[in-house]
Symmetry: C2
Subunit: 409 residues, 2 copies
């Protein structure tokens, strides 16, 4: 009897066991477990490259799907830990952090690309590389904040809020750059930009206002169900619905899932939670535990180890990464008085999957017949993204631990 999921079962068992061992090694080295999971992914890819019989984790559609769902569920869980009013309170600080965190890395990326890339490189390429360094990959920082029990701190909220703004800004930059490249095919960029912005902001506004009005009614309807075990499927269904709608509006699906978590307040679901004797947060937690390591291992596995360690690309990557980290650390100051700037700054450092989506989009853009992003430039940017992705959790874990020790002393 051939079983179509059998291969996936083996792969998932391998990923979970190795992710937990890698995470444990990282914890023993006083690093966040996420860094260990990223390293496990890289190691698995190296193993596959050197011994082709070893399964190719990065190429499995099953792990791709589960990892993708994992980060959506993770951001839903993060959203559940805050409410809309709490987020509005840190809204201005998030906006400042996001704006500085987009302007500075773009300027720095522009400068770095201009310094290192051959003369005559079009300005739009420098701009594009700068854009790749803007968007924060919030999944990683969210996981580190959870590990260290700082998810519902002021800094945690500012970071996540800024990441949402980042996503909108990043989207705009991508549209602007694509418009600059393809004015022939794409028409004038101005109206398109305005439309993209309106759609993204419109979705967020509608979700946070309408959603907050509708959600309580939906869940009080569900409370009349006689069947059992409705809270989690309905909660996840709600989150996935908003994630999908958000992606229709051009946002990353994690933004919609996060908005769903914000909208669902304890008051809306307390009756269902009492009846099922578990809170929604408690029920979502095992899903996060199981799915999010898949996402992080997969992210590590997608790195091309050969491209990464070529000296020329390594130089570009290190410089871009340094500039990117510096820009985000300065952005942390945007958090304002009484906020730990180092925590916010380091939280904004990782640029994982969002940057990778940018690079993939850039690889498809063509200018004067040649691809906008050469293979070398592409490897350099990916290298920089990877470096920030590893540096982010390490730095964030470090400042969180330092400050905890100070508080205890």
């Amino acid at each position: 009897m051939h079983d179509p999921v059998a291969g996936t079962l083996m792969l998932l068992a391998l990923l979970w066991l190795s992710a937990k061992v890698g995470g444990e090694l990282a914890v023993r080295l006083r690093l966040p477990a996420v860094t260990g999971e990223l390293a496990v992914g890289l190691t698995l890819t190296v193993l596959h490259r050197s011994w082709t019989a070893f399964p190719d984790v990065a190429a499995s559609p099953a792990t791709e799907l589960l990892g993708g769902l994992g980060v959506v569920v993770l951001m839903f869980a993060v959203g559940l830990e805050s409410t809309v009013p709490q987020m509005l309170k840190v809204g201005l600080a998030s906006l400042r952090v996001a704006l500085i965190g987009v302007v500075l890395p773009m300027a720095a990326g522009l400068a770095g690309a201009w310094l290192l890339l051959p003369a005559g490189t079009p300005l739009v390429l420098d701009l594009f590389i700068g854009a790749c360094l803007c968007a924060t990959s919030i999944g990683i920082s969210a996981q580190v904040l959870r590990e260290r029990g700082a998810s519902d701190s002021v800094e945690g909220r500012i970071i996540v809020g800024a990441a949402v703004v980042d996503d909108v800004l990043g989207l705009l930059v991508l549209v602007a750059v694509s418009g600059m490249v393809g004015t022939a095919s794409g028409g004038p960029a101005g109206p398109k930009l305005a439309w993209t912005l309106a759609l993204a902001l419109g979705f967020l506004a509608a979700a946070l206002s309408l959603g907050r009005l509708v959600a309580p009614h939906l869940f009080s309807l569900a409370n009349r169900f006689r069947g059992e075990q409705v809270l989690l499927p309905l909660g996840l269904g709600f989150a996935f619905l908003l994630a999908w709608l958000g992606s229709l509006a051009g946002l990353a699906s994690i933004v919609g899932a996060y908005a769903a978590g914000l909208i669902l307040e304890p008051a809306h679901i307390v009756d269902l939670e009492r009846r099922e004797q578990h809170t929604l947060v408690d029920l979502v937690h095992p899903l996060v535990t199981v799915l999010s390591p898949l996402f992080f291992v997969l992210m590590g596995a997608k790195v091309d180890p050969l491209a990464l360690f070529r000296p020329a690309t390594l130089g570009l990557a290190v410089l871009l990464a340094l500039l990117g980290v510096a820009g985000k650390l300065l952005a942390g100051l945007g958090g304002g008085r009484g906020v730990r700037a180092a925590v916010v700054g380091w939280g904004m450092v990782p640029r994982g999957e969002v940057g990778l989506i940018f690079v993939a989009a850039g690889a498809q853009l063509h200018m004067n017949g040649a691809p906008l992003l050469s293979a070398d430039a592409q490897a350099g940017v990916i290298g920089a993204l990877l470096l920030t992705t590893v540096a982010g959790p390490v730095g964030l874990g470090w400042v969180l631990r330092m400050q905890k020790t100070e508080q205890q002393a």
Copy 2:
């Protein structure tokens, strides 16, 4: 920013919301929620057929994967509720139930196929149809038993145990029939049969003996981990590993997952459970809640509504289903004294995915150049499988509710 999982998010939201509404309607009609979920799947397929813009649930690889994982996780959870010694206690009863439940439906199926199919139909086809009616689709009964709080009753254990034996027997029948059809290509069936049996039994014996020796050591090693949230990923990793090994030995992957659940006894993991403040059963539960409805909706969605309601096939389907139900109800008597034969019998009635796997295998077998299973015969057998799949949970839910009322009276 194109998001590869966006479409899946929409589909999953749709499935969860409709599954819960369908389950609720079934509960209001005093039927098990599973029957509602099956009906929702069928309805979704009808919607897709009549309005092609509606997503095709049955054709989505993502739901296929998640549903497949869902039933594996469900059987792991069922296994966790029993231990190896408890299962050995009901072993003889399970064996009797399984043997009667294979011999009678095969004989009945043979008779039915001989009555209804045109003269000159080869005996091996009648045999094959009988075989399709043997294997119990335990996922459905397991879910009904869980819904009614009867998972850890004697009858519940006998049913699940008999389903494991069923699976081994069904495998043997499939190999024997394939051998009879393809003696030219397959060689003599005798040695192959013996090897298949040895492999399947060898796996079960090794898992239940070696596994029980090794598991405590593995989990006490994990207990030394400093990282958090290791219990669930390691537990699932263990289950998926055994499920995969089981499928290598020719068994359905749910048998391996169930064995993993049996092996893991509370004593092995109590330290980890205490540290993480949740039992493994508690942590697996949300996964079952979320994944298993996908499996049942998908099962309903895979039914071809047109083939089902053609009069000729409907006649064959109804007759085969009646014979199949009668055989399994008689098999329930094999449970022995003090065991509610009706509960055991109805629990063995559903023949969902295992029978479908058989039919799919049969569709690939050729005899004298023509496919062994004609399109009509195939539709009839699938119809019979579907009827038992709906009748099973309805009957099981009914006898469980009746006997509960009697006890209370």
